[in-house]
Subunit: 349 residues, 2 copies
């Protein structure tokens, strides 16, 4: 049996980690034209914010810090202060470089760039199950979690996290919470507490707002951390048009209200559809459902053969399903699920 | 007299360096509305590539590496291989982190982010005049120049640079050439030689293509260096819409031909206009003219008082003028230059 606390690294040829959304690669591998795929391999809102396009001037001029994005983001997240970054990935890469030789516990399985980045920066990294995190707090300097977790959908309680943050901060440590999938459940966010010492919260416009191509995310933390990170990253990390679009989306409260409701309904529908196909999700967020099954690789391949791309996690074996965009896509998914021929499990010795 | 080899650092409150293009700050300082300024403080083409806008889908999906940008850029630069980065600034920040404890010579005065980044990464940095560079080659590991230089406009000869590169490469060293202002004079570029060991060339779409807001640049170098840099920077560093726009601009050879010719004419006109106002440029590129004068601060303030923003370099004292966008802006500049009241120079003891 694979250790459930160890997830696969999945490196590509270039030494970068594997991710969902690699539709071009799938198109070549399965011989299905790009436009014929239903891509459920990401947790990106398929009906994202698309109400306006940035003016041409935003392409021509260097982006400026005082263009309204900072204020709009502080308002949306209810945060005292934050640093806009080029997607939370930019923060994941850079934050480990602000520290030297720390003992770091990273939730596993979770978004695999976290452990990779801390290891790459020379820290001692332990991968820790959700169930063992509460004991890891006291013998690590930095604890990194994803909440709700990706790909498992596990959620962590606010009061428990604030207790962890306090215990870490008392020793000069830090709790880092990646809230990439939090927008559907803002009451569960630590954003409002992010000015406290020993807490760093990562947010992104990639998932809920469906603006993954824009590369806009935010680091919410105490001012000292934000200043150090700003110097590490340097100027103009986000494109001007993306800053403009992000500002509009963050200020569009009406859209956000409707979308939170819609995504909740759709995520529930996905749970129902998968369950009906004997693929019972064991976790999820407003943007995906997650199915732990030893048959994950078989099911992934059979769906890909029908032009439906899901996200396969090999160790531990798990499939993540994003949301279909419209009724036609829902019907296509349901039809493909009915056509599945799942082989019986071979029990290992 | 200030040492002509030492330029001012110009740090802002956040610890980031000062740059041109800070129009919002100037608007507040001089009490002139944002839309009433003529901004000549950058070297950005005021008539940049603006022939199409990226499709909405590029905002929604994660950017993919195999979308055609790499091929378009290799074609435009006549390079064997390259890495697209989020503006050459991203490369300037990251490249020093690929080395440990090198003796680095950085051309001075030049674009001030270079020396800053190498110092920040813990290297021993010497600032070296253009005239002394040829002797600096043999007692440094890494030599960083900007060609044509910014802000002085000094140009370096291809054969001489290739000699420097060979001497550095023979000792395991490296010549880094920032060619941000090279697009008007492609015959002077080292891009075609960038697969050689010990050579790194930086290019950008910010200046000639006028796409400074897009944050797209390229590192041209041997494959080993590109792989190391790709791992340092991580995935998705450029926004999807910017990748799309960059690809179109790099493939638009007709526009590029016309623009090279236009910018050459306009830069010559700027030289003439400044000379007529007793501001004789001592260097320039297709996108700016540069005037070394002890009166730089006075002239900068007087032009700003008339709503014309130029770029002031304090030590050594120098003004950089970008190109006006149209005939109306040319007339406004000429009128403002005629109204200048330049105090006589106070000679220091």
């Amino acid at each position: 049996m694979p250790d459930p606390c160890v997830s696969d690294a999945g490196f590509t040829e270039s030494g970068l980690l594997e991710h969902g959304g690699k539709l071009r690669q799938a198109a070549v591998r399965y011989g299905i034209a790009l436009e014929d795929w239903l891509d459920l391999s990401t947790g990106i809102n398929p009906n994202g914010w698309q109400k306006a396009l940035p003016p041409l001037s935003t392409w021509a001029r260097l982006p400026e810090d005082d263009d309204g994005l900072h204020r709009a983001a502080c308002g949306y997240y209810a945060a005292q202060d934050l640093l806009p970054v080029a997607g939370s990935q930019a923060a994941i890469q850079a934050l480990p470089k602000l520290y030297a030789h720390r003992r770091v516990a990273v939730l596993a399985p979770s978004y695999n760039e976290h452990a990779h980045a801390w290891q790459r920066a020379g820290h001692a990294v332990d991968l820790v199950c959700a169930a063992q995190l509460h004991t890891a707090i006291d013998d690590h300097d930095i604890v990194v979690i994803v909440n709700p977790n990706n790909p498992t959908g596990v959620c962590f309680d606010v009061a428990m996290l604030l207790d962890w943050q306090q215990r870490l901060a008392a020793r000069g440590g830090c709790l880092m919470v990646d809230e990439a999938f939090m927008d559907g459940t803002p009451a569960q966010s630590l954003a409002a507490y992010s000015d406290r010492e020993g807490l760093i919260v990562l947010r992104s416009l990639g998932k809920f707002f469906g603006l993954a191509g824009a590369r806009v995310g935010f680091v919410l933390a105490a001012k000292k951390t934000l200043l150090a990170l700003a110097q590490e990253l340097g100027p103009w990390t986000i494109s001007g048009p993306a800053r403009w679009l992000a500002t509009q989306a963050l200020e569009d409260q009406a859209w956000q209200r409707i979308m939170r409701k819609q995504l909740k309904q759709q995520s529930q529908r996905l749970h129902t559809v998968l369950s009906a196909a004997q693929l019972m999700p064991d976790g999820g967020s407003c943007l995906f459902q997650s199915v732990a099954t030893p048959q994950a690789a078989h099911i992934h391949a059979q769906l890909a053969g029908q032009g439906i791309l899901t996200r396969l996690f090999k160790v531990p074996a798990r499939l993540r399903f994003g949301l279909p965009a419209d009724e036609q896509e829902w019907q296509r998914l349901q039809q493909a699920l009915r056509a599945l021929n799942i082989p019986s499990v071979e029990l290992s010795a």
